[in-house]
């Protein structure tokens, strides 16, 4: 694997998507600002905006940077560079997720910090951790679908389904016994169920990335 | 196309642009200069070598042949070609050999007159 080339490709994508990335960062910061106002209403609005910004970022990045290569017909140009499918796939997946992970981490840590400082909501921390990771799983799904299918239709479907899934899972997890019991308490309680959910999510991420690389290696037509 | 290249080179020799023994561009250099395929120039050079117009020393390059008869010989060949053309066209027009000879005489006189005028200027 040619790591310098992967880096060059990732930097290229980040440069070309710089406006989207900056806009999202700005939106994310604004949301945090709203949350910092302190009222409950501000908290929910800010949180919603933050999640929207994150989901929009991962979806838009996947569309512009991944599906876009095919739509803009720049795929021959990229594939004429001294790389194989390995460098291409790595740069797309890692490039996409890396950019996403930064605002995501800020949001997650910010949320944890806020919850930690208000004693009555500390029980929400495990739930928040699970849901934050779920957003990461979502981003990974969208990126994988984009790389494998290179099609706008499939990627949009993944974005929509992911969104619906996110809400559905949010509801479901809040009712899982192992989590619901301690959610509304004032202490942080990591139940086995909560751990299991968290570990499953990371496992899913690993599987998706592995599957993506596997499928890419079997492709016989890159154009 | 290789014939055109041969003609061009012969012209250059005939008018003295390229002297006997002078080095001429390599096949590749000429190909690049004319934007023509290497294989066409190669063919032209081979034919020219066969006709004795140029010589190619492997590893050293190509040169105009040092045969002192070269320029006059080229002009001679050209004259023979033109005469053959004249004979053919004359026959097509239905002229007799005397009529063709007369036309040649007229052309010769015109050419001499031209040359005198040029020398006077």
């Amino acid at each position: 694997m040619n790591y310098p080339m992967v880096k060059i490709l990732m930097l290229k994508d980040w440069y070309l998507q710089r406006w989207i990335i900056l806009a999202t960062f700005a939106g994310g910061l604004a949301s945090l600002g709203i949350i910092a106002i302190g009222s409950d209403g501000a908290f929910f609005i800010g949180l919603l905006l933050l999640i929207t910004a994150l989901v929009a970022l991962s979806g838009q990045l996947a569309m512009s940077a991944i599906v876009g290569e095919r739509k803009e017909q720049t795929l021959p140009f990229v594939m004429s560079l001294p790389i194989s499918y390995r460098e291409y796939t790595t740069s797309k997946i890692v490039g996409n997720l890396l950019i996403f992970v930064v605002p995501w981490a800020v949001m997650a840590i910010g949320s944890f910090a806020l919850l930690a400082f208000s004693p009555k909501s500390q029980g929400l921390i495990p739930y928040t951790a699970i849901m934050a990771t779920e957003i990461l799983v979502n981003a990974c799904l969208v990126a994988s679908v984009a790389v494998i299918t290179e099609a706008q239709s499939w990627t949009i479907a993944a974005i929509i389904l992911g969104n619906i899934g996110l809400n559905g899972i949010g509801y479901l997890v809040a009712h899982v016994n192992g989590v619901a019991r301690w959610m509304w308490g004032s202490s942080i309680h990591w139940s086995p169920a909560a751990y299991a959910l968290l570990i499953t999510e990371f496992a899913i991420i690993g599987l998706m990335i592995g599957f993506t690389f596997f499928t890419q290696s079997r492709k016989k037509d890159f154009l | 196309m290789y014939l055109q290249i041969m003609e061009q080179i012969k012209q250059k020799v005939a008018v003295g642009d390229w002297q006997r023994g002078a080095e001429i561009p390599s096949i590749r250099q000429l190909a690049v200069a004319l934007s023509v395929s290497v294989i066409t120039v190669k063919r032209a050079y081979l034919e020219l070598e066969r006709e004795g117009v140029i010589v190619t020393h492997h590893g050293k390059g190509s040169f105009i042949a040092t045969d002192p008869e070269l320029s006059p010989r080229l002009y001679d060949e050209e004259l023979a070609e033109h005469l053959e053309q004249a004979a053919r066209l004359g026959t097509l027009l239905g002229l007799s050999s005397e009529e063709i000879a007369d036309r040649l005489q007229e052309a010769f006189e015109r050419a001499s007159a031209d040359r005198l005028t040029k020398e006077q200027l």
Partner: protein
């Protein structure tokens, strides 16, 4: 050194198949691929670049097996295809810097001279370029790296005559170096005829002829005959197509020798003219006679 070697290559698609592609391109030569649209030129080139994996056969480019060693091979290959686009929101300058950061052989001086030659402005965004400018920009990026092998899919299509000439001259400049090779496909037979050393004809997924250009031009002729009244066309070996009408047939041969002319004269026909054929005429005649042969 053989720059490109295809042996027994085949590729099957639902509506098209490439079959038994064999050819060898020595370093320092120019090979032109001529074929109708859909004949298989682009597919062959993509297989060469490792962008499409063949279903069978061997492909070696600059000594590397493709597609397994494509990353190493592509370090020395400059590729421009008709369906290739640059990033619309970025400038030409950005693309030049991008390529320069990847390839150590980037020649900045040469790149600047190409900018002037092709009349391109560095700071212009790609999305504002006309088609011809876009093609020239892509060619600049490929040429300035001084690659050992230039692979071009329809490089002059859509260019105005001035641009075409500039581009062809730059291609020839590449060949000043004996070790550099060009393979290009075109349905513009004039370009191919001008600069190619070798020509390969492709039709319907198969190579129907591949040879030195001069050999093609030597062996193909059109003979115009006039037959005496009430006589049949004498048969002479080597004729692959008969056209014209009645007493004035036009024969096409791909194995011309002066002896053919005397053969016809001996059998009573008058040979009015022996015409050379352009590469375009040769190609068309080659294809039509083969298709006629398939139908028979």
């Amino acid at each position: 050194m053989i720059a490109v070697h295809f042996e027994g290559v085949k590729k099957t698609y639902p509506h098209f198949a490439l079959d038994d592609i064999n050819f060898s391109l020595p370093a320092g030569c120019v090979m032109g691929f001529i074929g109708a649209n859909g004949a298989g030129k682009s597919t062959t080139i993509r297989i060469l670049m490792g962008l499409v994996h063949a279903d069978g056969g061997t492909v070696r480019v600059l000594g590397h097996a493709m597609p397994a060693e494509q990353a190493a091979a592509k370090l020395d290959i400059g590729f421009v295809s008709e369906d290739m686009r640059l990033y619309p929101s970025a400038t030409i300058a950005w693309h030049m810097e991008f390529i320069r950061s990847i390839y150590p052989q980037w020649d900045a001086t040469y790149a600047e001279s190409l900018l002037r030659r092709f009349d391109l402005k560095k700071e212009q965004k790609v999305k504002g370029l006309s088609h011809g400018q876009r093609v020239k920009a892509a060619l600049l990026l490929a040429l300035a790296r001084k690659p050992k092998l230039l692979v071009l899919d329809e490089p002059t299509t859509g260019l105005d005559p001035v641009a075409r000439r500039e581009v062809l001259e730059e291609f020839m400049a590449v060949l000043a170096d004996e070790e550099r090779t060009i393979l290009f496909s075109s349905h513009n037979t004039l370009d191919v005829e001008q600069i190619s050393d070798q020509i390969t004809f492709i039709d319907r997924g198969r190579i129907i002829d591949s040879n030195d250009k001069e050999i093609f031009l030597d062996r193909w002729r059109r003979l115009r005959l006039v037959l005496p009244a009430d006589s049949e066309l004498p048969s002479v070996p080597g004729v692959i197509e008969v056209g014209g009408s009645g007493r004035m047939p036009v024969l096409t041969t791909n194995r011309f020798e002066p002896a053919m002319v005397s053969a016809y004269r001996d059998k009573g026909a008058t040979v009015q003219a022996v015409d050379n054929m352009t590469l375009e005429e040769i190609f068309v005649a080659n294809v039509s006679s083969r298709r006629a042969g398939e139908r028979a």
